[in-house]
C-alpha cells in the first residue's frame, strides 16, 4: 500500500492481485449476478484509491479494505431493497447464478444462503467475516465498529437463528459445537 500511495508503477496491479479473490468472495454472497459482484469489487478498489492518502505507513491494510468492502456491499444491498420496495419486484438475490450442478450440494448451499439472507445485516456480516473469512473476533469488531462482546452476541444469536431456519427446512448442517465456539 505504501508503494501505491507513493504512486509507484505496478503497485495498483499488485494490490489488486493480492486482494481480488478475497473481495470477490465477500461480494458474491447474496448477489444475483457476477456483473453485480464485479461492480462492487471495482467500487471497493475505487474507494481504496480515493482514500489512499489517509493510509498510515505500517498500518494493516486488510481490516481497512474489508471495512470499505462491507460498507460498499451494505449500501448496495440497502439500495436494492429500496428499489425492490418501490417496484414490487420479486427478490432475486438469494441464490447464486451459475453453480456447477450437484443436486445435493446445490440444494444445501441454497438453503444455507436463504437462511443467511433471513438474518439481520449485522448478524449475517459477523457470520460471513468470522466463519467464512476466518477473521478473528477482534478483527470483526474493528471492521464493524462495535465492541468485542457485541460481535460475540451477534455470532451466537446468528447461529441460533440459522439453526432454527435450517431445521425448518429440514437441512441442518449445524450442531451444538457451532454455538459453543461462538460463545467462547
Amino acid at each position: 500500500m505504501a508503494r501505491y500511495v507513493a504512486d509507484e508503477e505496478g503497485a495498483l496491479r499488485a494490490l489488486f492481485d493480492r486482494y481480488v479473490s478475497l473481495l470477490t468472495r465477500i461480494m458474491a454472497r447474496g448477489m444475483a449476478t457476477q456483473a453485480e459482484t464485479g461492480d462492487l469489487v471495482q467500487k471497493t478498489f475505487l474507494q481504496l484509491h480515493r482514500a489512499r492518502h489517509d493510509f498510515r505507513a505500517g498500518a494493516k491494510l486488510r481490516p481497512w479494505l474489508m471495512t470499505i468492502a462491507m460498507n460498499v456491499k451494505r449500501q448496495h444491498l440497502r439500495s436494492l431493497s429500496r428499489r425492490r420496495e418501490d417496484t414490487l419486484e420479486p427478490d432475486g438475490h438469494t441464490a447464486p447464478v451459475s453453480a456447477p450442478y450437484d443436486p445435493e450440494v446445490t440444494d444445501k448451499r441454497r438453503r444455507v444462503r436463504v437462511a443467511l439472507a433471513t438474518l439481520s445485516d449485522s448478524m449475517r456480516e459477523v457470520i460471513e467475516l468470522y466463519w467464512l473469512e476466518g477473521l478473528s473476533f477482534p478483527e470483526v469488531a474493528q471492521i464493524m465498529g462495535v465492541s468485542l462482546s457485541a460481535v460475540k452476541v451477534r455470532a451466537h444469536r446468528g447461529y441460533a437463528k440459522l439453526r432454527a431456519q435450517l431445521e425448518e427446512t429440514e437441512c441442518n448442517p449445524l450442531n451444538e459445537r457451532g454455538i459453543q465456539e461462538s460463545e467462547r
Binding site: 475505487l46 480515493r50 482514500a51 489517509d54 462491507m70 460498507n71 466463519w131 465498529g145 465456539e181
Partner: protein
C-alpha cells in the same frame, strides 16, 4: 481470544465451490479505467487526505461567515451581549464540525449505527430551534424588534432566502469533498445539515432581529429546508435515472 480454527457449520465447504470466479483481467481494466478517470477539480478535492478535506470544509464556512460579517454584519453589534453571541456561534460551529465529520466519514471507518445517525441528525435539526426559543438576547435596538408582527412572513422569508443562498454553496463544497458520489442516504442528510447550519451561522452574524418567532421561522428552518431540498434533488435525480 478465540480464533476461528474449525468450521462446525460446514459453511466454508459450501462456499469453496461457489461460483465466484470473475474475469480478473477485465475487472482490473475496469478498476484502472476508473482510477485514471479521477481527474479534475472534483476528483482532486475528494482525493485529498481526510484532515485536508475537513480543513477545506471548515475554511469554507469560516470564509463565508467572515464575508457575511464584513459585507452585511448585523447592526446591533454594540448592544448584543457578547457571551450570548459566543455560545450561539460556538454551538452552531461545534454542530457544524460534528455534521461535517459524519458527512465526510471515510469509507474505511465503520458506518455509524442507525441510532447514532438519527440522534445526530435530530440534534442538527433541533438545536437551531432550541436557540430560537430562548428569551430575546436584547431589545435595545429598533431593528431587533421587527419581524414579529405584520412583517413576520416577509422578514422570515427574507432571512430564509438569505440563509439558503449561503447554505447552497456549502452543500456543494461538502458534496464535492465526499468520496462517495453516489452517496448513502446518511451522507446526503449530513451534507444538507452542514449547509443549513452554515446558513444559520451566517444569519446569526447578519440579522439584527432577536424576536424568538422570527428566529424560529426565518433562521432555524434553513437547516430543515436544506434537508428537504437535498432530499428532493436526489429523489428527482433518482426518478430521472430510472
Amino acid at each position: 481470544m478465540t480464533e476461528p480454527t474449525t468450521d462446525p457449520l460446514d459453511l466454508r465447504s459450501l462456499e469453496s465451490d461457489a461460483p465466484t470466479e470473475l474475469d480478473a483481467g477485465a475487472l482490473f481494466e475496469g478498476v484502472a479505467e476508473q482510477v485514471a478517470a479521477e481527474k479534475g477539480l472534483a476528483a482532486w478535492l475528494r482525493n485529498r487526505a481526510t484532515p485536508e478535506r475537513l480543513g477545506i470544509a471548515i475554511i469554507s464556512v469560516v470564509a463565508i461567515s467572515l464575508l457575511v460579517l464584513l459585507l452585511t454584519g448585523r447592526v446591533d453589534w454594540p448592544v448584543y451581549p457578547l457571551p450570548r453571541m459566543g455560545w450561539m456561534l460556538g454551538g452552531l460551529g461545534l454542530l457544524y464540525l460534528l455534521m461535517v465529520w459524519i458527512a465526510l466519514l471515510p469509507a474505511y471507518k465503520p458506518t455509524p449505527q442507525r441510532v447514532v445517525i438519527v440522534g445526530l441528525a435530530a440534534l442538527g435539526l433541533a438545536l437551531p430551534f432550541v436557540q430560537g426559543l430562548l428569551p430575546m438576547a436584547h431589545d435595545l435596538h429598533t431593528m431587533s424588534l421587527q419581524g414579529a408582527g405584520d412583517d413576520l412572513l416577509s422578514k422570515a422569508v427574507a432571512c430564509f432566502t438569505f440563509g439558503s443562498i449561503v447554505a447552497i454553496p456549502l452543500v456543494v463544497i461538502v458534496a464535492l469533498l465526499d468520496r462517495d458520489r453516489q452517496g448513502s442516504g446518511f451522507r446526503r442528510l449530513f451534507t444538507a445539515l452542514c449547509g443549513g447550519l452554515a446558513g444559520i451561522l451566517a444569519l446569526q452574524l447578519h440579522c439584527p432581529i432577536t424576536q424568538p418567532i422570527h428566529l424560529i421561522w426565518g433562521h432555524a428552518t434553513v437547516a430543515t429546508g436544506m434537508v428537504l431540498m437535498v432530499g428532493l434533488f436526489h429523489a428527482v435525480r433518482g426518478v430521472r435515472r430510472r
